[in-house]
Symmetry: D2
């Protein structure tokens, strides 16, 4: 039984983390901080947790986070880089669900996030928490940069192709669609039900912060620079990301289905669907699974990969718990083996 | 470890039962029958179950259901009354999620369901599986009539008031709203997304089959005939029932909040919310909990009760597993303690 | 061709008014004010109006509203009572879509709206703009209190019964359901898509501001005090209100269908559906129609009335235009005869 | 005033056509046929049309369609090719909203639609009814092949680029998303609300019937063969198509914004949005407008075009009425100038 703390538990990532940790057999939630809501019982804000989480939100200053074994930052960007250092130096494992430690190149990070980075050394030592790529490093890590939601779906979708060097990595396309919870639990007009429901739109086409994160990951797999066109869209659903990926083959056709099945054969949370499949986001709703299908329409040289995740689980809280499980030597699926909720 | 069979696993009740049983530590799923889909792997129809349920649908004639400890009927009305007898007589516990054994008065049943009942003796011996009412009988039962979704929400909402004899039971009103999954996984125009989405309507106002079931239950609590106006509505969501209940007090006001809290103090699946609350359906999504709030607007003599459940869990599959747990002496919450999924 | 001004055009009522007025053959939109958005083209905020509304939002101080023939206030409560007087005194017709002039009893208004009323004389001279009740007074009015959305659906639903003195008006029940646009275009967490979608809840059960407005109207019809239990709910759709109304007959049954058909025979915007109908909100989407059906379940003494409107049209902007048409002697249906959009 | 007939008015295309024609000042609806629903008043199936359409559905055999000036086929594929000939030969103008006359190459049509074509001569004489391409031919046409919904959005999006010869047409990508009404008003499990809501998926990736239609159109613009990867998706909304289009520039960059604005300068139903825009499907809901935006992310050589339409209006019924207006010399926008409904 380890003690876990959560900094900033009032967003969707926070409440999902609470749902998962409250049911995790090896974890005791010690503290959930929120400056603004200090004193309010967590279950008052989230009645779904009544009877399961009895803690109130506590003031960050008073929560004794150093007594935790692990602390999750479910905060806006820019918070963890200020506060994680002290914890890491005190021997607490830290998992940041925001973007503070994801981009290795500080200048790139500062350009896209429009902030000066407060702890570049943290970035250097942080491990990018995509278990399918960095499993062994994660086990040893003290500080985890938990991947973004789009980056998880896109990287897992492209990985086998890119690692195998089969496609033109200078012109990759990721056309991605996200449910509205991906925009966070923030009072903004654009994500009101009456605005976002019965509607579909692209956003951030000129540039989205997940672009450099994905590019960095793909570059690592390819061993050379990549060119990516990344177009995110908002779709009227609560949870789920669907990535539709396009790449052009540069070598004679192989058995791509077999390639993917082999690459992910031992991965507990990646499911390569049978040839010809169209994975639906609801088939992973509330679960930590990524489902992938591979297509070559009309047998041409354009490969189309379909990759779906639940943005709040595999794209955030579930992957964070997966990382925690690896760091503490628990079974990888402990606490995150729950089946998808369908319908 | 007991062996469970499911007859008719292709509807929403069936897939929800599969989700719960596949994760239940004391149950092994032995067979799932579907005449129409025999031979198809369950996980092909429901990819959410890939890796968790490896069985194919089997032909009812060939499934050896008598070898099961318990068989669930997740079939249309009229099937269980034909097939359950043989199983019950063979010593198999049977839980019918349809309506065949819910109404004790055969003539009433035949009028509302427009069929001749094939096994009236089954009705006589069946126990109505609402654990909050019939816990002890359920433990001994061989045949369970699992309650309908609306009847669960409405009866739990009215029960403390009616048992205490505080209201005029001759003019009760239940204004209920259901998500679309309550209509089943059937190819019908009226429940298409393009018809039922961004829309709200009442249906069955002249008469709905759940009316006699609810009336029978309330009558049992009141010890006398009751008059109920029951108006169901379809609301554009997938899961969830919200019952808004109206009753007029016939005695000087008491502390209704305390009455409810006391009545449900030891119930694991009924949560009486703090005074002044408005329970939301999503606060019970994918869970077996019923949340209830009590209001007396402007301090008048009209009591308003708000009662929410997930129609597929507490209103169907979850309650069925609760009944199974009681019948086999398992912990009541075994396999159905999963927290609600929010957002 | 008359000149119309709109004060506060950035909410849903405002944009709907713009949609209707931009297509009205007798109206020219002269000014739309918004202190916050002054200078921004209207069609930048609402691209649906590109090519149809070329005006920018203007600063209230600089918009020459006195040059208008009619000014609509699509503002939050409390604005029109401050600003309408000057316009009315200058001979401009004013239609307030907020609540400032709806409640005749100033003390009651001040209690429910928690403000001191700035212009009680305005309340005294204002005509409540429900054409089915006050058609003749509206034609002569200088100041219109445009009814609320719930009050429109509920009053039209109850009216024939209450006018005819057939029901116990001391215990009326209005169980109402509204789409999310009814909550306005405001940045609030509770009405985010990820909160309000796939969810259903009651709100304001202890007391809602539309209660005194409805009670006042019903009292006028009944000629005596009424007792109303009013329970509003939020349903996951954009537009639409569905009112389910309950009243107990106090006299031997009459032909209620005929009563309603007769009462509304010459009303262009009230459609009494055939006996046995269940009107859907989408059947009036984007139109100014109210559809009503009358039921007596099981032939008992409880009457159930179903009444649907589009909250932004018949419940706000469309009714305002109807009032304008009456005030200026245009055909009643001018500019608001558009057919519902289905699906 | 011309007489219009509709064959097959019970689907979404049919009811939308009825909505538009019932409000068209130059059209009288003479007959609506449906073999299955003959005798039922149209407004019983579609209460939104109560008071506006008084006709019943009539039996095709008895409807005197030859007395019409124009007949619309809103039928499944394969009907118009059997029935249109007689009408055309009798001098009736025919507009087919299905696919029977869209593909000029009969063998290609027969392969994708898996039928033998009954009237190849009809295909030869039919004009493809995309006014932005074939305006003059449409004016003279006797038989119109009304374009599909995806083909309309995709062709209008690509057209200026392809006509100008600026991009590599051998590797075009169209990632398209449709609301559920695009699947029709058919009783199918996959498009039930409980299946399609809160969900996102691709479908038809190996091949979709709109692919050859789009390719044929693009080829006409390019003057040479094109290679297109076309991936359609189902998104949980009722109406709307969002096409996200990708093409690689083969020539030094030009001012693409100006190119598009010039190409569509005189088109009443194509709106080129300001540079940097992200058109939303709701901005064209219930209207005949196509809105387009052009992007070059990070200034690279990949152009991203965003194109939105309402699939039932510009993608079906509205475009059909536009074609009718052209054929009969009415103003192009007559009856289809209604503003979008937002929210």
């Amino acid at each position: 039984m380890i003690k876990a703390g959560i900094v900033g538990g009032t967003g969707y990532t926070g409440v999902e983390l609470l749902r998962l940790l409250a049911q995790h057999p090896k974890v005791e939630i010690s503290a959930i901080t929120s400056r603004k809501e200090a004193g309010m019982p967590v279950s008052q804000m989230f009645p779904s947790l009544r009877g399961a989480v009895d803690l109130p939100f506590s003031d960050p200053a008073q929560a004794n986070l150093k007594a935790c074994d692990v602390v999750f930052f479910a905060t806006p960007n820019g918070i963890a880089m200020e506060q994680a250092r002290e914890l890491v130096e005190a021997g607490v494992r830290v998992i940041d669900l925001a973007a503070d430690f994801r981009i290795k190149d500080i200048a790139t990070w500062e350009k896209w996030y429009a902030m000066t980075h407060a702890w570049p050394e943290g970035v250097a030592q942080a491990v990018y928490g995509l278990p399918e790529v960095n499993r062994e490093q994660i086990k040893q890590a003290k500080l985890i940069a938990n991947p973004g939601c789009y980056p998880t779906a896109v990287q897992l979708g492209f990985m086998p192709l890119v690692e195998a060097g089969l496609v033109d990595v200078s012109h990759l396309i990721a056309d991605t669609k996200s449910g509205v919870s991906g925009a966070g639990r923030k009072a903004e007009v654009g994500i009101l039900h009456a605005e976002a429901s019965d509607n579909f739109k692209a956003y951030g086409v000129p540039g989205h912060r997940h672009l450099p994160e994905i590019s960095q990951g793909l570059q690592g797999m390819a061993g050379k620079p990549v060119g990516l066109t990344f177009v995110p869209h908002l779709t009227p659903m609560i949870r789920g990301i669907h990535a539709t990926l396009y790449a052009r083959l540069t070598k004679p056709a192989e058995d791509l289905q077999a390639l993917y099945e082999k690459r992910y054969a031992s991965e507990p949370f990646v499911d390569v669907m049978p040839a010809g499949s169209h994975p639906e986001t609801r088939s992973v709703r509330a679960s930590n699974t990524c489902r992938i299908a591979i297509h070559r329409p009309q047998g041409g040289d354009t490969v189309v990969i379909l990759s779906v995740i639940d943005n709040l689980v595999k794209g955030a809280a579930g992957q964070a718990v997966h990382n925690m499980n690896l760091m503490f030597g628990f079974a990888e699926t402990e606490g995150i083996a729950g089946l998808p909720v369908l319908p």
